[in-house]
Protein backbone atom coordinates (compact mmCIF):
# COMPACT_ATOMS: atom_id res chain seq x y z
CA UNK A 1 0.00 0.00 0.00
CA UNK A 2 1.17 3.49 -0.76
CA UNK A 3 1.18 6.65 1.26
CA UNK A 4 -0.93 9.46 0.02
CA UNK A 5 1.15 11.89 -1.99
CA UNK A 6 0.45 15.51 -2.62
CA UNK A 7 -1.49 15.70 -5.86
CA UNK A 8 0.33 18.06 -8.18
CA UNK A 9 -1.98 19.98 -10.52
CA UNK A 10 -3.91 17.41 -12.53
CA UNK A 11 -2.10 14.29 -11.39
CA UNK A 12 -4.43 11.32 -11.47
CA UNK A 13 -5.29 10.01 -8.01
CA UNK A 14 -3.68 6.89 -6.62
CA UNK A 15 -5.68 3.66 -6.34
CA UNK A 16 -4.90 0.47 -4.48
CA UNK A 17 -5.68 -2.73 -6.36
CA UNK A 18 -6.98 -5.98 -4.84
CA UNK A 19 -7.35 -9.18 -6.85
CA UNK A 20 -8.94 -12.53 -6.21
CA UNK A 21 -7.41 -15.36 -8.21
CA UNK A 22 -9.15 -18.33 -9.73
CA UNK A 23 -8.66 -20.44 -6.61
CA UNK A 24 -8.02 -17.59 -4.21
CA UNK A 25 -10.06 -17.39 -1.03
CA UNK A 26 -10.18 -13.61 -0.85
CA UNK A 27 -8.99 -10.46 -2.57
CA UNK A 28 -5.34 -9.65 -1.98
CA UNK A 29 -3.54 -6.37 -2.36
CA UNK A 30 -1.34 -6.56 -5.46
CA UNK A 31 -0.20 -2.99 -6.03
CA UNK A 32 -1.19 0.53 -6.93
CA UNK A 33 -1.85 2.62 -10.00
CA UNK A 34 -2.99 6.06 -11.05
CA UNK A 35 -6.30 6.58 -12.82
CA UNK A 36 -8.79 9.42 -13.23
CA UNK A 37 -11.75 7.40 -11.92
CA UNK A 38 -12.78 3.98 -10.64
CA UNK A 39 -13.80 2.67 -14.02
CA UNK A 40 -10.42 3.48 -15.56
CA UNK A 41 -8.65 2.19 -12.46
CA UNK A 42 -10.31 -1.20 -12.96
CA UNK A 43 -9.42 -1.29 -16.66
CA UNK A 44 -5.82 -0.33 -15.94
CA UNK A 45 -5.65 -2.89 -13.14
CA UNK A 46 -6.77 -5.54 -15.58
CA UNK A 47 -4.07 -4.50 -18.05
CA UNK A 48 -1.29 -4.33 -15.49
CA UNK A 49 -2.08 -6.89 -12.81
CA UNK A 50 -3.90 -9.69 -14.64
CA UNK A 51 -1.85 -10.13 -17.82
CA UNK A 52 -1.29 -13.80 -17.00
CA UNK A 53 -4.66 -14.92 -15.67
CA UNK A 54 -3.86 -13.83 -12.13
CA UNK A 55 -7.41 -12.84 -11.37
CA UNK A 56 -11.13 -13.32 -11.82
CA UNK A 57 -12.19 -10.35 -9.71
CA UNK A 58 -10.74 -6.88 -9.13
CA UNK A 59 -11.40 -4.33 -6.40
CA UNK A 60 -9.98 -0.83 -6.50
CA UNK A 61 -10.12 1.78 -3.79
CA UNK A 62 -8.68 5.25 -3.76
CA UNK A 63 -5.60 5.18 -1.56
CA UNK A 64 -6.77 8.12 0.51
CA UNK A 65 -9.79 6.14 1.75
CA UNK A 66 -7.71 3.40 3.34
CA UNK A 67 -7.30 3.52 7.10
CA UNK A 68 -4.48 1.48 8.62
CA UNK A 69 -2.86 0.61 11.92
CA UNK A 70 0.05 2.82 12.89
CA UNK A 71 3.44 1.12 12.66
CA UNK A 72 4.46 2.40 16.11
CA UNK A 73 1.50 0.67 17.76
CA UNK A 74 2.51 -2.70 16.40
CA UNK A 75 3.50 -4.11 19.83
CA UNK A 76 0.67 -2.94 22.13
CA UNK A 77 -2.02 -3.16 19.46
CA UNK A 78 -1.55 -6.82 18.71
CA UNK A 79 -0.42 -7.78 22.20
CA UNK A 80 -3.81 -9.09 23.45
CA UNK A 81 -3.60 -12.14 21.19
CA UNK A 82 -0.08 -13.03 22.22
CA UNK A 83 -1.00 -14.24 25.71
CA UNK A 84 -3.86 -16.48 24.65
CA UNK A 85 -2.18 -19.69 23.65
CA UNK A 86 -5.33 -21.66 24.53
CA UNK A 87 -6.90 -20.30 21.34
CA UNK A 88 -4.78 -22.77 19.41
CA UNK A 89 -5.91 -26.42 19.18
CA UNK A 90 -2.45 -27.73 19.97
CA UNK A 91 -2.78 -26.25 23.48
CA UNK A 92 -4.87 -29.27 24.48
CA UNK A 93 -3.46 -32.75 24.96
CA UNK A 94 -5.99 -35.29 23.73
CA UNK A 95 -5.08 -38.96 24.13
CA UNK A 96 -4.33 -40.87 20.92
CA UNK A 97 -7.00 -43.44 21.84
CA UNK A 98 -9.66 -40.81 21.25
CA UNK A 99 -8.85 -40.75 17.55
CA UNK A 100 -8.79 -37.82 15.19
CA UNK A 101 -10.10 -34.56 16.61
Amino acid sequence: MSNETTPSRSEWPLWEVFIRGQHGMSHRHVGSLHAPDAEMAIKNARDVYTRRNEGVSIWVVEAKHIAATAPGEKGPFFEPSESKVYRHPTFFDIPDEVGHM
Binding site: S2, N3, P7, S10, E11, L14, S32, R51
Partner: protein, 334 residues
Amino acid sequence: MYAQMVKTASDGVKSREDMSPEEAAFQAKIDADIKIEPRDWMPEDYRRTLIRQIGQHAHSEVVGQLPEGNWITRAPTLERKMILLAKVQDEAGHGLYLYSAAETLGVSRDEMVEMLHAGKMKYSSIFNYPTLNWADIGAVGWLVDGAAIINQVALQRTSYGPYSRAMIRICKEESFHARQGYSAIMKMAFGTPEQKRMAQHAVNRLWFPALMMFGPSDKDSVHSEQSMAWKIKIKTNDELRQQFVDQTVPQILYLGLELPDPNIKWNEERGHYDFSDPDWSEFFNVLKGNGPCNTDRMKDRVGAWEDGEWVRDGLMAHARKKQARKDAAKIAAE
Protein backbone atom coordinates in the same frame (compact mmCIF):
# COMPACT_ATOMS: atom_id res chain seq x y z
CA MET B 1 22.51 -2.00 -13.54
CA TYR B 2 19.07 -0.56 -14.19
CA ALA B 3 20.16 1.70 -11.40
CA GLN B 4 23.83 2.46 -11.96
CA MET B 5 25.94 4.91 -10.03
CA VAL B 6 23.20 5.78 -7.59
CA LYS B 7 24.68 8.42 -5.35
CA THR B 8 24.19 7.35 -1.76
CA ALA B 9 23.01 10.28 0.34
CA SER B 10 25.38 9.64 3.22
CA ASP B 11 28.93 10.31 4.31
CA GLY B 12 29.86 6.72 5.03
CA VAL B 13 28.66 3.98 7.30
CA LYS B 14 28.09 5.05 10.90
CA SER B 15 29.14 2.91 13.82
CA ARG B 16 26.39 1.81 16.20
CA GLU B 17 27.65 4.23 18.85
CA ASP B 18 27.21 7.18 16.50
CA MET B 19 23.61 6.25 15.74
CA SER B 20 20.57 7.70 17.47
CA PRO B 21 18.42 5.08 19.27
CA GLU B 22 15.93 5.24 16.39
CA GLU B 23 18.61 4.68 13.81
CA ALA B 24 20.17 1.83 15.76
CA ALA B 25 16.76 0.14 15.98
CA PHE B 26 16.28 0.68 12.25
CA GLN B 27 19.67 -0.88 11.43
CA ALA B 28 18.99 -3.79 13.80
CA LYS B 29 15.79 -4.52 11.89
CA ILE B 30 17.68 -4.54 8.60
CA ASP B 31 20.37 -6.81 10.03
CA ALA B 32 17.63 -9.20 11.16
CA ASP B 33 16.12 -9.18 7.63
CA ILE B 34 12.94 -7.49 8.81
CA LYS B 35 11.48 -5.36 6.03
CA ILE B 36 11.19 -1.61 6.38
CA GLU B 37 7.67 -0.47 5.49
CA PRO B 38 6.51 2.96 4.24
CA ARG B 39 5.36 4.40 7.55
CA ASP B 40 8.21 2.98 9.64
CA TRP B 41 10.87 5.36 10.87
CA MET B 42 13.81 5.57 8.47
CA PRO B 43 16.85 7.84 8.16
CA GLU B 44 16.34 10.66 5.69
CA ASP B 45 19.42 9.53 3.74
CA TYR B 46 17.97 6.03 3.32
CA ARG B 47 14.73 7.52 2.00
CA ARG B 48 16.49 9.89 -0.40
CA THR B 49 18.86 7.24 -1.72
CA LEU B 50 15.99 4.84 -2.30
CA ILE B 51 13.96 7.42 -4.21
CA ARG B 52 16.97 7.95 -6.44
CA GLN B 53 17.57 4.24 -6.92
CA ILE B 54 13.98 3.08 -7.41
CA GLY B 55 13.23 6.13 -9.56
CA GLN B 56 16.20 5.41 -11.79
CA HIS B 57 15.12 1.79 -12.03
CA ALA B 58 11.56 2.84 -12.98
CA HIS B 59 12.81 5.29 -15.61
CA SER B 60 14.96 2.51 -17.10
CA GLU B 61 11.96 0.24 -17.50
CA VAL B 62 10.04 2.98 -19.31
CA VAL B 63 12.86 4.32 -21.49
CA GLY B 64 13.81 0.70 -22.18
CA GLN B 65 10.59 0.33 -24.14
CA LEU B 66 11.89 2.66 -26.82
CA PRO B 67 14.67 0.59 -28.47
CA GLU B 68 12.33 -2.42 -28.62
CA GLY B 69 9.20 -0.50 -29.52
CA ASN B 70 11.17 0.58 -32.56
CA TRP B 71 10.85 -2.99 -33.89
CA ILE B 72 7.25 -3.87 -33.09
CA THR B 73 5.99 -2.86 -36.52
CA ARG B 74 8.95 -4.52 -38.25
CA ALA B 75 9.03 -7.88 -36.49
CA PRO B 76 9.51 -10.66 -39.06
CA THR B 77 6.30 -12.58 -38.28
CA LEU B 78 2.94 -11.86 -36.71
CA GLU B 79 3.81 -14.18 -33.84
CA ARG B 80 7.08 -12.35 -33.14
CA LYS B 81 5.20 -9.06 -33.29
CA MET B 82 2.71 -10.25 -30.68
CA ILE B 83 5.49 -11.59 -28.45
CA LEU B 84 7.47 -8.37 -28.64
CA LEU B 85 4.36 -6.32 -27.97
CA ALA B 86 3.64 -8.39 -24.85
CA LYS B 87 7.24 -8.04 -23.71
CA VAL B 88 7.25 -4.28 -24.13
CA GLN B 89 3.89 -4.07 -22.35
CA ASP B 90 5.43 -5.94 -19.42
CA GLU B 91 8.14 -3.29 -19.22
CA ALA B 92 5.50 -0.58 -18.90
CA GLY B 93 4.10 -2.59 -16.00
CA HIS B 94 7.56 -2.85 -14.43
CA GLY B 95 7.85 0.91 -14.62
CA LEU B 96 4.50 1.22 -12.85
CA TYR B 97 5.39 -1.22 -10.04
CA LEU B 98 8.60 0.68 -9.39
CA TYR B 99 7.09 4.16 -9.56
CA SER B 100 4.47 2.94 -7.07
CA ALA B 101 7.20 1.66 -4.74
CA ALA B 102 9.01 5.01 -4.94
CA GLU B 103 5.74 6.87 -4.31
CA THR B 104 5.46 5.22 -0.90
CA LEU B 105 8.54 7.25 0.03
CA GLY B 106 6.70 10.52 -0.45
CA VAL B 107 7.50 11.55 -4.02
CA SER B 108 4.86 11.54 -6.73
CA ARG B 109 5.19 9.80 -10.06
CA ASP B 110 4.72 13.04 -11.98
CA GLU B 111 7.50 14.64 -9.93
CA MET B 112 9.86 11.80 -10.82
CA VAL B 113 8.93 11.97 -14.50
CA GLU B 114 9.56 15.69 -14.49
CA MET B 115 12.94 15.22 -12.82
CA LEU B 116 13.90 12.73 -15.51
CA HIS B 117 12.86 15.14 -18.23
CA ALA B 118 14.78 17.96 -16.57
CA GLY B 119 17.91 15.78 -16.56
CA LYS B 120 17.91 15.54 -12.77
CA MET B 121 17.39 11.78 -12.74
CA LYS B 122 18.95 9.09 -14.89
CA TYR B 123 18.09 5.81 -16.54
CA SER B 124 20.35 2.89 -17.46
CA SER B 125 23.14 3.63 -19.95
CA ILE B 126 22.20 0.52 -21.97
CA PHE B 127 19.15 2.18 -23.51
CA ASN B 128 21.28 4.81 -25.16
CA TYR B 129 22.50 2.25 -27.67
CA PRO B 130 20.56 1.72 -30.91
CA THR B 131 18.78 -1.45 -32.03
CA LEU B 132 19.91 -1.60 -35.64
CA ASN B 133 18.36 -4.82 -36.85
CA TRP B 134 16.16 -7.73 -35.79
CA ALA B 135 19.08 -9.67 -34.32
CA ASP B 136 19.55 -6.81 -31.86
CA ILE B 137 16.06 -7.39 -30.51
CA GLY B 138 16.90 -11.00 -29.78
CA ALA B 139 20.19 -9.92 -28.19
CA VAL B 140 18.45 -7.29 -26.06
CA GLY B 141 15.99 -9.79 -24.58
CA TRP B 142 18.72 -12.33 -23.99
CA LEU B 143 21.60 -10.11 -22.81
CA VAL B 144 19.98 -6.94 -21.46
CA ASP B 145 17.05 -8.60 -19.71
CA GLY B 146 19.45 -11.39 -18.74
CA ALA B 147 21.68 -8.86 -16.99
CA ALA B 148 18.66 -7.17 -15.44
CA ILE B 149 17.46 -10.49 -14.03
CA ILE B 150 20.76 -11.09 -12.24
CA ASN B 151 20.47 -7.73 -10.52
CA GLN B 152 16.78 -8.02 -9.79
CA VAL B 153 16.93 -11.52 -8.35
CA ALA B 154 19.43 -10.22 -5.79
CA LEU B 155 17.24 -7.19 -5.06
CA GLN B 156 14.26 -9.36 -4.14
CA ARG B 157 15.95 -9.49 -0.73
CA THR B 158 16.26 -5.71 -0.41
CA SER B 159 15.31 -4.17 2.94
CA TYR B 160 12.54 -1.88 1.71
CA GLY B 161 9.27 -3.85 1.58
CA PRO B 162 7.56 -2.19 -1.41
CA TYR B 163 10.78 -2.36 -3.47
CA SER B 164 11.29 -6.00 -2.60
CA ARG B 165 7.71 -6.87 -3.55
CA ALA B 166 8.06 -5.01 -6.87
CA MET B 167 11.24 -7.00 -7.58
CA ILE B 168 9.53 -10.31 -6.82
CA ARG B 169 6.69 -9.47 -9.18
CA ILE B 170 9.10 -8.31 -11.88
CA CYS B 171 11.30 -11.39 -11.62
CA LYS B 172 8.26 -13.60 -12.25
CA GLU B 173 7.83 -11.89 -15.61
CA GLU B 174 11.46 -11.57 -16.65
CA SER B 175 12.34 -15.10 -17.69
CA PHE B 176 9.79 -14.81 -20.50
CA HIS B 177 11.81 -11.77 -21.68
CA ALA B 178 15.15 -13.52 -21.67
CA ARG B 179 13.80 -16.70 -23.24
CA GLN B 180 11.92 -14.99 -26.07
CA GLY B 181 15.15 -13.11 -26.85
CA TYR B 182 17.31 -16.21 -26.85
CA SER B 183 14.81 -18.07 -29.00
CA ALA B 184 14.86 -15.20 -31.51
CA ILE B 185 18.65 -15.16 -31.65
CA MET B 186 18.77 -18.96 -31.96
CA LYS B 187 16.69 -18.66 -35.14
CA MET B 188 19.24 -16.19 -36.48
CA ALA B 189 22.37 -18.04 -35.37
CA PHE B 190 21.14 -21.33 -36.83
CA GLY B 191 19.73 -19.65 -39.97
CA THR B 192 21.37 -18.50 -43.20
CA PRO B 193 25.00 -17.27 -43.18
CA GLU B 194 23.65 -13.73 -43.47
CA GLN B 195 21.39 -14.22 -40.43
CA LYS B 196 24.26 -15.73 -38.46
CA ARG B 197 26.43 -12.73 -39.33
CA MET B 198 23.73 -10.39 -38.00
CA ALA B 199 23.51 -12.38 -34.77
CA GLN B 200 27.29 -12.20 -34.35
CA HIS B 201 27.29 -8.44 -34.91
CA ALA B 202 24.51 -7.95 -32.40
CA VAL B 203 26.44 -9.88 -29.76
CA ASN B 204 29.65 -8.01 -30.57
CA ARG B 205 27.98 -4.62 -30.27
CA LEU B 206 25.89 -5.30 -27.18
CA TRP B 207 28.34 -7.33 -25.09
CA PHE B 208 30.28 -4.48 -23.49
CA PRO B 209 27.28 -2.18 -23.05
CA ALA B 210 25.59 -5.12 -21.25
CA LEU B 211 28.62 -5.49 -18.94
CA MET B 212 28.38 -1.76 -18.17
CA MET B 213 24.85 -2.24 -16.86
CA PHE B 214 26.28 -3.43 -13.55
CA GLY B 215 27.99 -0.09 -13.00
CA PRO B 216 31.64 0.75 -12.45
CA SER B 217 34.18 -1.66 -11.06
CA ASP B 218 34.08 -2.13 -7.29
CA LYS B 219 37.31 -0.26 -6.80
CA ASP B 220 35.69 2.84 -8.36
CA SER B 221 32.28 2.34 -6.82
CA VAL B 222 32.24 4.89 -4.03
CA HIS B 223 28.65 4.48 -2.92
CA SER B 224 28.50 0.78 -2.21
CA GLU B 225 29.33 0.40 1.46
CA GLN B 226 26.42 2.31 2.96
CA SER B 227 23.98 0.90 0.41
CA MET B 228 25.08 -2.60 1.28
CA ALA B 229 24.70 -1.93 5.01
CA TRP B 230 21.17 -0.74 4.28
CA LYS B 231 20.58 -3.77 2.05
CA ILE B 232 19.44 -1.71 -0.87
CA LYS B 233 22.40 -3.17 -2.69
CA ILE B 234 22.86 -6.88 -2.14
CA LYS B 235 25.89 -7.85 -4.18
CA THR B 236 28.74 -5.74 -5.52
CA ASN B 237 28.89 -4.63 -9.15
CA ASP B 238 31.79 -6.95 -9.92
CA GLU B 239 30.12 -9.96 -8.31
CA LEU B 240 26.99 -9.44 -10.40
CA ARG B 241 29.03 -8.85 -13.56
CA GLN B 242 31.00 -12.05 -13.04
CA GLN B 243 27.77 -13.98 -12.52
CA PHE B 244 26.46 -12.60 -15.81
CA VAL B 245 29.62 -13.53 -17.73
CA ASP B 246 29.69 -17.05 -16.27
CA GLN B 247 26.06 -17.58 -17.20
CA THR B 248 26.26 -16.06 -20.68
CA VAL B 249 29.48 -17.44 -22.18
CA PRO B 250 28.14 -21.01 -22.54
CA GLN B 251 24.99 -19.56 -24.13
CA ILE B 252 27.10 -17.76 -26.75
CA LEU B 253 29.07 -20.93 -27.44
CA TYR B 254 25.87 -22.94 -27.82
CA LEU B 255 24.84 -20.59 -30.62
CA GLY B 256 28.09 -21.38 -32.44
CA LEU B 257 29.03 -17.71 -32.32
CA GLU B 258 32.46 -16.28 -31.62
CA LEU B 259 33.05 -14.79 -28.20
CA PRO B 260 32.88 -10.99 -28.37
CA ASP B 261 36.05 -10.57 -26.29
CA PRO B 262 39.32 -12.44 -27.04
CA ASN B 263 40.22 -12.42 -23.34
CA ILE B 264 37.27 -14.54 -22.27
CA LYS B 265 38.88 -17.67 -20.87
CA TRP B 266 37.87 -20.19 -18.22
CA ASN B 267 40.01 -19.73 -15.12
CA GLU B 268 40.28 -23.08 -13.40
CA GLU B 269 41.72 -21.60 -10.24
CA ARG B 270 39.00 -18.99 -9.75
CA GLY B 271 36.24 -21.21 -11.06
CA HIS B 272 35.06 -18.31 -13.23
CA TYR B 273 35.58 -16.90 -16.69
CA ASP B 274 38.18 -14.16 -17.07
CA PHE B 275 37.13 -11.30 -19.32
CA SER B 276 38.07 -7.75 -20.33
CA ASP B 277 36.72 -4.69 -18.64
CA PRO B 278 34.47 -2.53 -20.77
CA ASP B 279 35.81 0.85 -21.80
CA TRP B 280 34.87 2.82 -18.72
CA SER B 281 35.45 6.17 -20.37
CA GLU B 282 32.70 5.25 -22.82
CA PHE B 283 30.43 4.35 -19.90
CA PHE B 284 30.93 7.67 -18.13
CA ASN B 285 30.49 9.50 -21.39
CA VAL B 286 27.15 7.79 -22.09
CA LEU B 287 25.98 8.56 -18.55
CA LYS B 288 26.88 12.19 -19.13
CA GLY B 289 24.46 12.23 -22.05
CA ASN B 290 26.83 11.63 -24.97
CA GLY B 291 25.81 8.11 -26.00
CA PRO B 292 24.57 7.37 -29.52
CA CYS B 293 20.87 7.73 -28.60
CA ASN B 294 20.61 9.90 -25.47
CA THR B 295 19.13 12.84 -27.33
CA ASP B 296 16.59 10.73 -29.23
CA ARG B 297 15.46 8.89 -26.12
CA MET B 298 14.81 12.05 -24.16
CA LYS B 299 13.12 13.69 -27.13
CA ASP B 300 10.76 10.73 -27.43
CA ARG B 301 10.03 10.61 -23.68
CA VAL B 302 9.41 14.33 -23.33
CA GLY B 303 7.39 14.31 -26.56
CA ALA B 304 5.13 11.49 -25.35
CA TRP B 305 4.63 13.25 -22.01
CA GLU B 306 3.76 16.59 -23.58
CA ASP B 307 1.62 15.16 -26.38
CA GLY B 308 -0.32 13.13 -23.83
CA GLU B 309 -1.02 16.01 -21.49
CA TRP B 310 -4.38 16.93 -23.02
CA VAL B 311 -5.53 13.33 -22.69
CA ARG B 312 -4.53 13.15 -19.02
CA ASP B 313 -6.17 16.48 -18.28
CA GLY B 314 -9.26 15.66 -20.33
CA LEU B 315 -9.87 12.38 -18.55
CA MET B 316 -9.40 14.03 -15.17
CA ALA B 317 -11.85 16.82 -16.07
CA HIS B 318 -14.35 14.24 -17.29
CA ALA B 319 -14.01 12.22 -14.06
CA ARG B 320 -14.60 15.34 -11.94
CA LYS B 321 -17.65 16.31 -13.97
CA LYS B 322 -19.12 12.83 -13.68
CA GLN B 323 -18.54 12.82 -9.93
CA ALA B 324 -20.15 16.26 -9.55
CA ARG B 325 -23.20 15.08 -11.49
CA LYS B 326 -23.48 12.00 -9.31
CA ASP B 327 -23.20 14.09 -6.12
CA ALA B 328 -25.88 16.52 -7.37
CA ALA B 329 -28.28 13.67 -8.21
CA LYS B 330 -27.75 12.21 -4.75
CA ILE B 331 -28.53 15.52 -3.05
CA ALA B 332 -31.63 15.96 -5.22
CA ALA B 333 -32.84 12.50 -4.25
CA GLU B 334 -32.44 13.10 -0.51
